[in-house]
């Protein structure tokens, strides 16, 4: 399974294997990653599952669609060039080794 690392605002790093087909938001909730809240339950309505993808890997994940792009303007910590909403990132084998910064608390 692809290995993913979350780097929390506190500095804590969590590395875990995530099954292909799961969203990174669901995985983070299961792991209790601080800063990933998913208030709307993955419906692309709240922008509280914000992650910043390692710029070197961002292109491999594809681009946010128009709805996600719109919601990314709402993130509390401020949008960065490789910001994503992790409810929209469904894990594929290409995600292996991905590092995500979680700017929220």
């Amino acid at each position: 399974m692809p290995r993913i690392t979350w780097i929390c605002a506190s500095g804590r790093e969590v590395e875990a294997e995530v099954a292909v087909g799961r969203t990174l938001m669901e995985a983070a909730r299961g792991l209790g990653i601080e800063g990933i809240h998913s208030e709307c339950g993955g419906n692309l309505a709240c922008a509280t599952c914000h992650v910043v993808v390692d710029p070197a890997r961002a292109a491999a994940l594809g681009s946010p669609d128009a709805m996600e792009d719109d919601m990314l303007d709402m993130v509390d910590a401020g949008r960065e060039p490789t910001s994503r909403l992790s409810c929209q990132l469904t894990v594929t084998p290409a995600f292996d080794g991905l590092r995500l910064t979680v700017p929220g608390v």
Binding site: C40, N43, A45, C46, A47, T48, A66, M67, D70, M71
Partner: protein, 379 residues
């Protein structure tokens, strides 16, 4: 009983001079139509208290309440600004939040429409195909909300003057105690089987203390020592002097500002329509009331300590004892006010004359009459 009749009966009742005043007519407590008039003319047009501002600590701390039938959220937003807004979703009109707590966003439990803490819509799932949907134009309607001396005050009336104007006179009386610096240490919600005015009136007079509170504080009170001065347009008050049996009621030894009797003076303020404050140099407690039908009242009951007592390591111990006493006193008040409600159901329930110690009740009746029948009370 129609509302015109009850309002007219009240107007006639308060036209009597205080020296021969009678209690309010039974109809103003029992009539659902009169309650509707109170909701539209009083609760929708006054400052209603949602408790203490320091009870909402940090971004996302919220509480919900109903004022004149309107479901309202009070929340501290991302920038720690206190805000109030409608608690109804702009989609299919569901209630959004219940109770109190802390949240990051206001998310509708029905279809996950999600609002920021300032009431603006953050997002709504799968709305992109409806051309009439505009996120930027969608927000929860704001309700006027101010932090007045530490009290969260709300009103549905955009033209109502600020609390400082409506409650002019409060500073002259108790400004020296600086209510805004007091810290809330407890807060509870109750619902009693009585009309809201019966409980408000109970707070306004201390005439009932010796009997109703015979089991607690009644013995320490002498009717001949009570003073009930004339009130102000927006509130009435009376005050009593406490002895040292309740240490918290006295100014803290580190308080060197207060002198003489002011060190042991307890104020009882009834801010119309329904914020009842007991304020002492050491602590405060309050009731904020909203009607829930003619036969029930919803009560926000809280209290806390002055800044000097907050610094005192013994304060929690003092306060635990005081809280136990307040709870016992409240239980006695519950019995008395619920018995009045029961008595009012009798065909023989006829208002009797008021004591000179019930002047605040008379003024309260005049204020209510002035709101529901403008022009009925001589200026």
């Amino acid at each position: 009983m129609n509302k015109v009749t009850a309002a007219k009966e009240l107007a006639d009742n308060v036209a009597t001079p205080f020296e021969s005043a009678q209690a309010m007519p039974a109809s103003v407590y029992k009539s659902p139509d009169f309650l509707a008039l109170e909701q539209s003319e009083i609760f929708a047009k006054s400052w209603i208290c949602a408790g203490r501002a320091d009870a909402l600590k940090g971004p996302g701390a919220y509480m919900t309440l109903e004022v004149a039938g309107e479901a309202i959220i009070v929340v501290r937003d991302q920038d720690e600004v206190l805000r109030a807004m409608s608690n109804v979703c702009r989609h299919r009109m569901s209630i959004l939040l219940e109770g109190r707590g802390t949240t990051r966003t206001i998310t509708c439990p029905y279809h996950a429409w999600t609002y920021s803490l300032d009431g603006s819509l953050r997002g709504a799932p799968a709305m992109e195909l409806n051309g009439s949907f505009c996120k930027k134009d969608t927000r929860l309607p704001a309700i006027r909300c101010v932090d007045w001396k530490g009290w969260i005050m709300l009103t549905l009336d955009d033209s109502l003057p600020e609390p400082d104007v409506v409650f002019a006179g409060v500073d002259d009386l108790v400004g020296y105690l600086d209510m805004s610096s007091y810290v809330e240490t407890f807060r509870e919600e109750h619902r009693w089987n009585t009309n809201w005015k019966i409980l408000a009136e109970n707070f306004m007079e201390s005439y009932h203390l010796p009997m109703c509170h015979g089991g607690t504080i009644g013995g320490a009170t002498k009717l001949k020592d009570m003073v009930c001065p004339e009130g102000y347009p927006g509130f009435n008050y009376h005050h009593i002097l406490k002895d040292d049996t309740v240490p918290l009621a006295l100014a803290h030894p580190t308080n060197t500002v207060l002198e003489g009797e002011d060190r042991r003076r307890t104020w009882l303020l009834a801010l119309y329509p329904s914020l009842m404050i007991t304020l002492t140099p050491g602590y405060f407690w309050y009731l904020s009331l909203v009607p829930d039908g003619p036969d029930h009242v919803k009560i926000l009951y809280g209290g806390g300590l002055s800044p000097e007592f907050m610094q005192d390591p013994k304060a929690p111990e003092y306060f635990a004892a005081l809280k136990a006493l307040l709870d016992d006193v409240n239980e006695e008040d519950k019995g008395c006010t619920e018995r009045v409600w029961q008595g009012l159901q009798s065909r023989f329930a006829v208002p009797g004359p008021l004591s000179h110690l019930e002047r605040p009740n008379y003024e309260f009746a005049q204020w209510i009459s002035g709101k529901v029948s403008p022009g009925s009370v001589p200026a």
